[in-house]
Amino acid sequence: MRSMWLPELSATPPAFSWHFAWKSLPVFIKICLLIALAAMLGAALAMISITVRRNALQKQEALMEQLARQVNELLLNTIVLSPTPKGRSMVRADFDTSGFYKLGLSVKKVNQVLVEEMIHYRNYFSGTIAEQIRKLYLGLSLHKAALLRLQKKSWESRSNALAELFKMDIEVPRERLQELLRSDNRYIREYARLMLIKFSKADPLAVLFELDEPLSQWEQLEIFLLVKDRADITAAALQKLLPPANSQAGLNMLAVKLAIHFHLRQALPGLLLLADATDPRLRTEAILAIGLLGNTQSQQYLRDAYSWQTHEGRLAIIRALGQIQNSRHMRFLENEFLYSDDFETKKYAAEALIRLYPLSKATVDRLAGNTEPENQVILQHSLDPLINAS
């Protein structure tokens, strides 16, 4: 029996109320909880968004890869493996282009992948294959889309279009290129210059005479590759790119490389001025060029300049003397190899002596047998191309 003085227990415990619990919390706790909740929601949303985007990107990449494979297969079968009459390397223009149209050339991405693969092929193959790919590019009217993109406002679209036309050997009207030369964007100006050089009928370097901005190393190389097989590069044109007519290091460097390539001895006065250039790379290249192109007098000039040249200049003189196929400076090279305190000078002198083979064979054999161990190691390293390359 229940005693009368004990409080009566309720049958069910009071119900928990979120509302009551929330209301009973202090304000600062409420704010903290709200911030934590917002942060968790934000993080969850960010993760979902990243996952969705990554998935979409992976799908797109897989599609692009598949498309690139398809395009590659088509190019391989249509161009590379297409039968040509035996014994003739003729360029065909009667391709079966239906496969390419089936890809959906109106889709921008498809167009882009196809052009990229075409350029890829042209980077690896010359001759008939390169020319057939160009014909196919024209046949599919892809050049029209690129020419249209040249009118766009975005500099990226215009420079990409220009690069595409350049790599596919498609000429752009000269007036349009002259306009693009005045563009605010460096890439567009560079490609416009390269285009003008590539398609110039005569005096390809003329566009560089009035150049008022530095010539990048990339552009120097591209220009060199464009003109190296032309027959209209004259000493007069090179002289306009060399001191005293021109003091721009990039143009000077290009002129030095071209003078060596075309063996233009008339460029020697400008090259001699560059032997004292402040730019160490330019100085080195000029000295090497003097060694290669120079007559006995200019070679003696190099030998005399050795005493007052910088360290880089001295090394360049040693290399230059190694390129002159006569034994006039062999004793000097031998002395530098034996008695210099500088390791690099010794190494360059050893390499120069070896480059003078067979004139220097007796000297190198003698040195290999009779010098100090360190010198012998330097000679061995210089003689072994595998060690040289590493």
């Binding site: 092929y121 690896y124 008939t128 294959i129």
Partner: protein, 127 residues
Amino acid sequence: MKHILIVDSDPLFTQAVSSVLAQEDFNVTTALNGKDAANKLRLSRYDLLITDVLMSYNTGLELLSEVRRKDRHRHTPVLVVTGISHEHKIADWFKAGADAYLKKPLDMPTLLLSVKQLVADEKYVAA
């Protein structure tokens, strides 16, 4: 059937060249880097090695020296196909044992001619 190993880091190049060589009745194997090529050279004998020089893991020059060190491949002709055209480098490849050199971008008929000459040359018949 002559067996040729083509080594180049770009699958597009190896695929294109191997397809053309296969069309000319050569048995072609490809490798995408020097290490892969060295492994394949350990397993089989080849009548010609076509290699680039700029590759990952093992450069063409290292591969060339390895080929020349091994008795099995000492007489295997090697054709270097690369974009580099620096005279000193070319001289180095020949000193290291290369038999021929072609510059990229290359002309396919010239490549075919070089391949046929190299695999047919009697001096490469292994002792």
